[in-house]
Subunit: 151 residues, 2 copies
């Protein structure tokens, strides 16, 4: 199976996709926080040290974005990705700190061809983002609208 | 009530917080996509025109980030924000296109002081992100760890 020519029809329940890593830097965390999540524990090393986090941590939305980015790098959605209708049960389980390396680990839990639109369907993934110590930092159930192979 | 001196104790069920707007530009969409979500419909105006979206749209993760940013600008979490354990039932309902202006509208649905940690509790919000036509583009149930007023 060529990874960047996959379609809904090629995914099977329990298929797993583990991504390459992305190392999170202090500069990435602060740049993202400036634009999107300007809370002291994402923006200010000094102030963050005095919070219950004990130091600078990445915005949870940035962790989500990086994990999805790592997943896209696998190429399995290059031909078939049509966007996402949503996600469920997202949990931020552990802080992500400068120097941490994130991988995503996505397992197929449902493959549902559309009844009304024969060119597409829904793929549901049990999606985990893990750090370099193998600890889950984020888990969720992610829905992806996925193109079917032309019949 | 001074907005930037609010604590868990000051939030009541049905309180609503409607944010100022943020206008989404083509350049913001492409910059975000380059870093975090490099799919053709977020990155390439020409390719996007040929997809079912009919043109460039923002990454859903960017829409989430911008809506949360707009919410933070209200200041209600300036003194009491302690991060988030997660969110539920996130749905991307409509595409966000260059020129759209987003507002967030958050309603308090639960206020739950922690039993084990008297300095904090959980605030649950029914969170909507809306465009300039009053259409919901994203809805979710958002949990926020929130500091209590010192007794």
């Amino acid at each position: 199976m060529i990874m960047d020519q996959m379609f809904l029809d090629d995914f099977k329940i329990s298929d797993r996709f583990v991504s390459p890593g992305i190392t999170v830097t202090e500069s990435m965390i602060i740049d993202f926080a400036l634009a999107y999540d300007p809370q002291p524990f994402h923006l200010d090393v000094e102030a963050a040290a005095g919070t219950h986090f004990g130091g600078l941590i990445a915005s949870g939305i940035q962790t989500l974005a990086l994990g999805f980015r790592a997943f896209l790098q696998l190429g399995v959605f290059r031909a078939c990705g049509m966007g996402s209708p949503g996600l469920d049960e997202l949990r931020w389980l552990r802080p992500v700190r400068p120097g941490d390396t994130l991988h995503s680990d996505a397992e197929v839990v449902e493959v549902r061809p559309s009844r009304s639109k024969p060119d597409r369907g829904l793929l549901v993934l049990s999606f985990k983002i893990r750090n370099q110590r193998g600890e889950d930092v984020l888990t969720m159930r992610s829905m992806l609208l996925t193109r079917r192979r032309s019949q």
